[in-house]
Each structure stands twice: as structure tokens, then as C-alpha cells.
Symmetry: C2
Subunit: 299 residues, 2 copies
């Protein structure tokens, strides 16, 4: 699976997901939206002040869009959320509103987009050879406990299932493969693996604690003589906490230079949260991921 093949599958679909962009202002946001719309990946629902949006749309060559007026970041966030709730849009994207403002609108009690699941971030990396590897959660949950980790894991599993991987392999990461009370993430990992063994987490092959080499290198498993069902072929890397996941994900993006995208799952629709330092390709990949999830799950 690659971003190119995912994009291709979206173009063959009969419907085009509509993406509500909370505060569609600023050139970089329009560039991403115009590119995704131009490629036929999604239809933009632009939320914000009418005049600057129309001007910027003209400059970006974006002609076909829906428009919802809103004058402040708070209003734009709430209007974009409402667009999804009312069925006018299929997924949500952060425009020029602060992440905290958008999440506040998403997490509102009755008028938000919260379902029964925890919100979590999934970074998807395309490895050489065209294979997706997810890192979660390096973007949203700072220090998740056991139940939160199980929820983070389930969100990523749902994403991979929507991408056609029926039973993804999940490595619950730490620095070592032994359970060691001095390294708390090995304890969580052991508990998660056992929760999966006892049927509390379904739809995935789960093992941990595993060091990264055992999760992604069949050769390392052989040399270390470690027998794990992951066998160096993990689809999803569940990290101990936000900081370690952030470092791991960014190392693959900024140092290894691999293509990537990221989305937030767990709400009633996927949320595309772009960062200022994301490249144009990264932004497009994130939109592709969100659109593919909507396309394959219907929400």
C-alpha cells in the first residue's frame, strides 16, 4: 500500500468526500485544498470570511467549492463541526484555527463530534517498497494509561482495516523485549498483549514489549532468536507516550525522508490536523488518508 495507490483507489470511487476546512485562510491551506480538489480526492467546504476566501480561491484556481461564512476562529471551528454533524461535510480539516480551538469544538458535549472512542493521532509512513507503517500516538495523548493505549490501538487498527489490511500486526514498543518493572512501558505492553490474547482487543495480531528492531526487522528477530508473531513485519507501532512517538515519527519523516501523512481518529469523522512544517506532499497525503477512511467506512 502506498499513497499513490491509495489516491488511485479514491479516484475510482463514485463519491467524493466533502472536507470542511475550519478557517480556510492562508495560502498554504488553499494550496493543499486546491491540489486535493484538483486531483479529485475531495470537495472543499470552505469555512471563514467570505471576501478573503473568494479572493484566495481565485488566486489558487479553486473554482468548485461550498462556502460557510464565519468571522472568528471559534465560529469557524464550530461551523465546520456543524457542517459534519448536519451532513454537509464528511470529514474535518484544521485550517488557520489553533489546534486547541478546533479540538474544543470537536469535543463539545452535545454539539461536538465525539463518539464513544478516544481521539488519537496516527502518523502513517510509507516505507520504501510501498508499505504503510503507522506510529501512534505521537500527536495527541501525552501519557496514555492502559485503557487509553487500548483505544489508541483500536483506532489505528480501524484505519488499517479501512485500507484493506484485515488483521494488522501491532508491535507494542519499548526499549527491550523483556518485561522489566524499571521500564514502565514494558509493563503496559505486556498487559496490552495479554488483553489481546484474552480477546479484549480484537482484529489485530498484537505483541509486546518489543524493541523497534524486533518490530521491523525479520533479520533482527532471527539474530536475537526471538519468536514473535510480529516477526519484524509490524503494520502499527504503538509507542509508550507522545514524546517517544513524536520522535519516532519525525525521525522517519525528517531524517529518513519517507513520505507520510497523519490523521486524528476516534471522532465521528476523521480529522486532518496539518502542521505548519508539513510539506505540500505531506498535507496531500493526510487528506488522502482521511478521504480513504471516509470512503471505506462510510464515516
Amino acid at each position: 500500500m502506498s499513497f499513490a495507490s491509495l489516491k488511485k483507489s479514491l479516484l475510482q470511487a463514485k463519491t467524493t468526500p466533502r472536507i470542511a476546512i475550519a478557517l480556510a485562510e492562508g495560502e498554504e491551506i488553499f494550496t493543499a485544498a486546491a491540489e486535493a480538489a484538483g486531483a479529485g480526492i475531495c470537495s472543499p467546504v470552505l469555512v471563514g470570511r467570505e471576501k478573503p476566501i473568494r479572493e484566495q480561491a481565485e488566486r489558487s484556481g479553486l473554482t468548485d467549492f461550498d462556502l460557510i461564512t464565519a468571522s472568528t476562529p471559534e465560529e469557524a471551528a464550530e461551523a465546520a463541526v456543524e457542517a459534519v454533524r448536519s451532513g454537509r461535510a464528511d470529514l474535518l480539516m484544521k485550517g488557520k484555527v489553533p489546534t486547541s480551538t478546533l479540538l474544543r469544538a470537536v469535543l463539545r458535549d452535545k454539539e461536538g463530534l465525539r463518539g464513544s472512542r478516544l481521539l488519537s493521532h496516527v502518523a502513517v509512513i510509507e516505507l520504501p517498497g510501498g508499505r504503510f507503517l503507522a506510529v501512534t500516538d505521537g500527536g495527541l495523548n501525552i501519557q496514555p494509561g492502559l485503557q487509553e493505549k487500548a483505544a489508541i490501538l483500536e483506532n489505528a487498527v480501524a484505519l488499517f482495516q479501512s485500507l484493506g489490511v484485515k488483521t494488522p500486526k501491532v508491535a507494542v514498543l519499548s526499549a527491550v523485549e523483556v518485561v522489566n518493572p524499571d521500564i514502565p512501558s514494558t509493563l503496559d505492553a505486556a498487559q496490552l498483549a495479554q488483553m489481546a490474547a484474552h480477546g479484549q482487543i480484537k482484529g489485530a495480531v498484537i505483541d509486546g514489549p518489543l524493541a523497534l528492531d524486533l518490530a521491523v526487522s525479520p533479520q533482527a528477530c532471527k539474530l536475537k532468536k526471538i519468536n514473535t508473531p510480529i516477526a519484524g513485519e509490524a503494520d502499527i507501532l504503538l509507542v509508550p507516550d507522545l514524546v517517544s512517538g513524536n520522535l519516532l515519527g519525525k525521525s522517519l519523516i525528517y531524517l529518513a525522508g519517507y513520505p507520510s501523512g497523519g490523521i486524528v481518529l476516534g471522532a465521528i469523522c476523521p480529522i486532518v490536523l496539518l502542521s505548519r512544517s508539513d510539506s505540500a506532499q505531506e498535507k496531500l497525503n493526510s487528506i488522502i488518508l482521511g478521504a480513504a477512511y471516509v470512503h471505506h467506512t462510510g464515516h
Copy 2:
């Protein structure tokens, strides 16, 4: 700086560092030792049982070596440490003794190799274009406090200075560049940066907290409009804890596929601690790093 250029500089040196190998048994250890000795990087001081050592040396084509007999892992570890103390060897390498056994011998009160500094692990990655990037400490100190982090930082700075980088740039990593009490590693990072600003840590340009993109990507610094003296050109990445450093280092080795080596610093000589899953090249690179450190510092 690359491993190839470092190796070349060692071959031009007049002396060859002698490396004491604690329990020199097993083919993989001999392969690494024979390769390093054959390349003129170091002279092996093989510690262990005479008969298997002589037999394996003959099979590996290793003819020129010093031999110290010892019959158990504990004896071998202690004899190898004693070889360094007595001046018969210049640096130490783990052979077929468990890491804990070797470290116990190193850390003994009067007969060990402990100096005044904390022992810490430095992974050195060669980025494309031939540039060294260190990740520390992803190998030894599980949850270092502020003083330990300062000591870990100083060990890595000493390594880079020995490699000719007079004032290395150190990024103290977290997931974000803002100080946030909910993310404890940002607090440590701020304190370390301020310790450097007030002259408590010398010989390096230090900033933090920094997310990895700001540490290694000048472009990300520009897009995010973050002004840091590291400016995306870090030589050393100081990580929050062992697990995050282990994941970061292994991602660059196993997923990005970059050449690497690793050593333990802080004792009176560098220690080469190879892992079973290290490739032959990684093993050689680690010996090159240790030999270069000895060569440039005299200890």
C-alpha cells in the same frame, strides 16, 4: 565526518589502540575483532579460555593478538578490566559476557574503570552526505534526572570534540518547542539550556526543548519561524529517556538504514558494547568510534 574518513584517520596514526575483549568466544566476536585488526584499527587483547580462543583465532585468520586466560564470564570481565587498568589495553569490548557482568566489573569500587563521570551510551548515526548525528542516551540510563542528563550531554560533547567538532550543537529533545508542565521532558530541557547559558555546561551550543524537526531540519525552523541556535543542524540529540532514545536510534538504523556505531563513555576508557543484532559493519563502526576516541584523547 563519516565512518570511512574516521577509519582512514586511524590508519594514519602511529599507534594502534589495544582492545581488551571480555570473553573472546563465539564466531561473531572473532569476525569483528579479526576485521578490525586486519584493517589496522586496533590490536586485540583476547580474554578467555586459551584453547577455544586459539582455535577460533586460527579459523578467523587472526594471527597477531595478546592473550589473557580466564575461565568464567566473571573472571573474563574482571581480567579485561584489569588489562585496561594496568595499561595492557587501551579500551574495553564486550565479548560473550552478559552486559550486566561486564558493567559490574567496570563499576567495582577500587578495581573498576569508573572515573568521576556517569557512564552513558552514545549511538552515532552517519547521515547521507557524511555527517555524524549522535543520539544519547538510548542504551544505558533508563530515566535520567537533570544532573544525569547534563553528564550524558557532556560525554557526547567530549566524543564529538575528540572527533574534531570543537563546539557541537546539542538539541535537547521533546515533542514540542514550548515549555509545558504536562510534558516533563520540556522542563528538563529548559533547565539544561539555561544551565548552558549560565556556563554550567561548556563546550557546546545547547538549546531545548526542541521537537525533532527543529533539531534536524533548517526548513522546518524557517516554516515554523522558530529562532534557535541549533537551526536544524544538531550534532547531538539528547533524548528524554532510554525508551525514546532507543526508538529514535533504532529507527535510523533499522528503518532509515543509515550506518551507525555505538559506545559507552564516562569510564576511564571507552567501552564497546555490541548487541547480537548489530550487523558486521555496525560492529566495526563501534570499534572505530572507540579507537578514535582513545586515539584523540589518549584515554
